[in-house]
Symmetry: C2
């Protein structure tokens, strides 16, 4: 019966009955041009590929297109080969990905050149920080699509519909895995009742090639299993995990594996029993290994006792290199702290040489304006992926250190913390959809440019509602000049704008506590652990500002391979975008521009505001090209973004001015609020 | 005993022990240069004049200056004659005013030319809207200086000190009368206990020439006296008022008289008994007449039934011209509605030809940003005073129609609704002191320019704390260029800026209800009387905006004398500053600039913001010339002013855009908030 419902839904969906709204993401309904799809494979996945081509074809009317599964050594995993008349692949999924690529090229006006496409990473996974009660940690787009607000586990038709749409969207950009629950995991997630629901989800995802993973609580053997310990070397614990794995795989034979946040921010872990992260990870790896399961073990660990939080993940893991089993991947956030608007790359990338390492990016905008700010994150991820670690000589980029190009690693993977919820438009902000899209595209091809990704996304997402319009006419020069170009410019500039009005020049972690939305450089209540307060990070005093991580300070620079260590260590060579990350400098320090550090800070905040105001003008001018719903929704959010940017500037400049004792340059617009009022509003909001 | 205390306080005060702070107003403590004051008169008033000269002299060291009371027919009332070595006057008060003028000229670097100075108005009066419980209607500078918060009537030393300082400040600019309580009057004010306190105040004011007046509730004979009626023609009522007058004058022989708000906004009045305003006013006039008392009867009346509130005061009073007794003065607000940022002058000015008429200005900034916005009101009053009514041919300005130049009126007067409270700086905003100052100066000389007044005020108020500095050095070119000129420019531009960001082009009464601070053009709850709601005034619809007061509309234009009636009636001739006051026009109406009306509205709001932002820069740049306390206080208020100006613009443009359906010109900065959020914040604040 269940299978029938699923198939009915599948049919319902791919025949495209959905209304034309923001829910459709970059897969907007098109008036298809007839095409003749030839495919002998009758699998569910192949059927999807056929239907997608039939309903989305924008190429030659009546063209023939063959979908062929055949051995091709040039293709890795689910890679595919495109020709003028065929999609070829080793697997059904390769066929599906190829079909989506073909349609994408048609819809974005790119030529269909013959060639192959292999994914950069074997596992391209979303991390949902969704809780069993439907709430989402750092979620800004409504409740969970996986877990009900009332904690009911009943699988509704609406659930299935959403899961199907979600799976299709992921497949269309090559995402092939997902973690269904928060890294701060409930032990309940491994109970039979929850596993039943996980199975239901997995069944719907399967034709789209999405494997499900679960976050687990390390102490589950005690909390859920009733054991006296969760010690990874305890035989009963080992047995418990093996039995749990058997249970899961009996329900979901292609279950992906576990994601683990252990011994981090209060979560239990192997260190509670005097064991190492390797002991913990290997315990789980052994339990799921025989089923092909994977353990993704997070390196996001730090303790309040260390003098520099930025150094701790490296220090904790570097000595464990080579100690992890083959099916363990260490999941490392892009930067050493925590998804700040800008961080240098984590020094763990490339430094772990005998261990699989996967980047963790955050798609949800925890520190980047939530779903209120338009911030296209692709440029941030591109910056990280293209950062050169020098670990195996020049060109040892983070991308190449993690995708198997440089190190022989059994598995390669990349994770993105999802920004998806029940909101009609999935992501809260219509432009936040672009971040989901960009994550998928970069996970498939980590050398794609953000320009290309933005170009593709805009074309697909703002495809006008026309019938029988030729692509050539649609992408007329007028549309390109008046819509595509300015909107793309806005997207590509948007992350730098956010850095400018939030945390320019290497500032980090100066946001408002808890909700991580507005500014809060002052926040340092008594008895709060210092590494959770902004003054720990900005170190402002009358002498200057910034965190000294040079060899006269915490020496975090030494965790980077030369020539980076020396470059970051030298105030003259350190890129100014990282200046206050690595250096504590006098307010009067002379910048390359000739301005003082204080002035440069002021101009950066001011520039950020000017940029967002410009975004507003860009958006208001493109009104004729956008449907009313999305136009108004983005317009109102841009208004709030500017307003919030002004608050960031006022708060940070007025706060730091207390230390610099220097005037805000008179060319700059003056603050429009007062520091004491900003702070008391911030405190009131927190109460 | 009381007299001794007063004298002690007097001595204490005029020896200048006060700290140098914003409490000193424009009378900042100076290091006096020795002067030899010759005066044979030993009265309290003459003593004050002598001390003021001795403690404030900035002229030639050891100069001789004579204070002479002698008959001089060129002098009116308390006018005075200055020579190089003397102040001459008919009265002691004239001597005091002359002494203050002499000091003002010294301190502001003006030459002491020989000549006379006569006051434009006989009575130069402040109206305090202070309640017996210490609250102040439309007061933004703390509680009342006359009435205690706990309603205690005990006269404290602090009370006396304040009253003395207040009297001195008023005398220094020529103010010679004050109404101690709210026009929405409590009947208690005429009870014996309250009159005792009034007497105490009057005793302290007397040497400074300040006469006290009281606002009365018309129904006092019933409410306080226990009569069955307050009918002005009832003999018991007549007797009651006569007896009350006798009681008052026995305590305060120089009591000024009554201010009356009757049959207005729910206040009782003669119309409750089928009598006219003249009946009511004359009743009271007869009661106080034999003691030299005055009745100031307000023309601020309107009913919800009329189709145009702007016409009602005129209609109500024009037929009563000549019916008022000689000691009645009709007090007329500057404009026909209610102290809006800009109104054309009230058509009653010059139209009442056989009745004394006095202008009522509002010093407290009820509709002009309270004590938060820097708005120098002198330019607004100058605009009103210099408006030509044409009632007796060209040149029949409001000033000349009210000061006795044109009409033979027994009494001339001018009133200002005070902005004074217990705040250290008296007025809430340091620059609001300038409005108190300007009212006094214009009341003395209604042809003074705002430029001159601002110049004087700045020089006296921001007199640096220096010792033995020569005026010539103090007013060095550097100070004039860097401080005086920009600050004066800011003041002179400030009212037009407020008009621009609040209610440009003739908009009026579109503020938030009740508190009259922020924008509220949308406010129109069900069952609210229409003339209390903004849509009644702006009349915005898809066809256009503005109140049609031409002969095709309410024909309010007909209340003005030709050529004004025709000028206001003609859309081409009507000054654009009054355009939407008199005309309902299409959004696309072509303005003189070539822009559409809608665009012109947008640009005006935007200009207002640019102006205030410029004020912020001006102020920040003059920091070296201002003490820290006042610098910071004004700086923080300017920040809020800009923030509030942006809110005004966003609210009004987004609200009216719903009717215009036209884009905000793209050169203009986009709104940074959303209309629904603005409105819900407004509603929440009101709850």
């Amino acid at each position: 019966m269940k299978a029938i419902v699923v198939n009915f839904l599948l049919l319902f969906f791919i025949t495209g009955i959905c209304a034309q709204d923001s829910h459709q993401l970059w897969l907007r309904k098109k008036t298809a041009i007839p095409v003749n799809v030839i495919c002998t494979n009758k699998s569910a996945t192949a059927t999807i590929a056929i239907k997608e081509l039939q309903q989305g074809w924008q190429g030659k009317r009546g063209a023939n297109i063959s979908l062929l599964i055949k051995k091709d050594k040039a293709l890795k995993a689910d890679g595919f080969r495109l020709t003028q008349s065929s999609v070829e692949a080793n697997t059904e999924l390769g066929i599906l990905y190829g079909a989506f690529e073909l349609l994408r090229r048609q819809q974005t006006g790119q030529p269909i050149t013959e060639g192959i496409s292999n994914p950069s990473y074997e596992i391209r996974i979303l991390n949902h920080w969704d809780n069993p009660n439907g709430s989402i940690e750092r979620g800004y787009a409504g409740s969970s699509i996986f877990w009900h607000k009332d904690s009911s586990l009943i699988v509704t038709d609406n659930d299935k519909m959403l899961w199907l749409e979600y799976a299709r969207a992921n497949a269309s950009v090559g995402i092939n895995a997902t973690v269904l629950n928060n890294v701060n995991a409930s032990p309940l997630m491994l109970s039979a009742a929850y596993l039943d629901r996980v199975k239901a989800i997995a069944d719907i995802f399967r034709p789209y090639g999405i494997k499900v993973y679960l976050s687990i609580k390390f102490s589950s053997p005690a909390l859920l299993g009733g054991l006296k310990t969760a010690d990874p070397l305890d035989t009963k614990v080992i047995e418990w995990w093996k039995e749990k794995a058997r249970e899961i795989y009996s329900l979901i034979p292609d279950f992906g594996g576990f994601l683990v946040k252990a011994s981090s921010e209060g979560q239990p872990g192997p260190q509670d029993y005097g064991r190492t992260h390797a002991d913990g990870a290997n315990l789980l790896a052994d339990a799921v290994g025989k089923y092909g399961g994977i353990i993704m073990w997070r390196a996001f660990v730090y303790s309040p006792n260390d003098k520099d939080r930025a150094k701790q993940a490296y220090n904790e893991f570097i000595n464990l290199d080579g100690k992890f089993h083959d099916n363990v991947i260490i999941q490392v956030k892009n930067g050493p702290i925590d998804f700040q608007p800008r961080e240098p790359f984590s020094p763990l990338f490339g430094a772990l040489k005998q261990t699989s390492v996967m980047p963790e990016f955050q798609i949800t905008q925890e520190y980047l304006g939530h779903a209120e700010h338009l911030v296209f994150l692709s440029t941030m991820w591109e910056e990280c992926l293209q950062s050169d670690t020098y670990q195996q000589g020049p060109g040892s980029t983070v991308a190449r250190c993690t995708d198997g190009s440089i190190y022989l690693q059994k598995h390669s993977a990349i994770a993105g913390v999802a920004n998806i919820g029940l909101d009609t438009n999935w992501c809260g902000h219509d432009f936040a959809q672009a971040n989901w899209y960009a994550f998928g595209r970069l996970a498939w091809n980590n050398s794609l440019s953000s320009d290309q990704i933005a170009d593709e996304w805009i074309k697909q997402t703002f495809y006008p509602d026309v019938t029988e319009t030729k692509i050539s006419a649609l992408y007329s020069s007028e549309w390109q000049v008046n819509f595509l170009a300015p909107v793309k410019q806005m997207m590509l500039e948007s992350r730098e704008a956010a850095v400018n009005y939030m945390m320019p020049l290497g500032f980090h972690h100066i946001m408002s506590a808890n909700e991580h939305y507005g500014p809060g450089p002052w926040w340092a209540p008594a008895r709060m652990r210092a590494d959770w307060t902004p003054p720990y990070y900005h170190q402002a005093d009358s002498a200057g500002v910034g965190f000294n991580r040079t060899n006269t300070g915490s020496n975090a620079v030494s965790q980077y391979r030369e020539p980076l260590a020396s470059q970051f260590n030298s105030v003259n060579d350190c890129p100014e975008i990282y200046l206050l990350w690595f250096h504590h400098l006098p307010w009067t320090y002379k910048m390359k521009s000739g301005k003082t550090l204080w002035e440069e800070i002021c101009y950066h905040y001011d520039k950020g505001i000017k940029q967002v105001r410009q975004f507003q003008k860009i958006w208001d001018k493109v009104q004729p090209y956008v449907d009313k719903e999305r136009f108004l929704s983005v317009q109102r959010k841009l208004r709030n973004q500017t307003s919030n940017a002004v608050l960031w500037k006022d708060a940070c400049l007025l706060y730091f001015q207390q230390f610099s004792h220097m005037p805000i340059p008179y060319e700059i617009e003056r603050p429009v609020s007062n520091l004491d009022e900003i702070i008391s509003n911030d405190m009131r909001r927190r109460r």
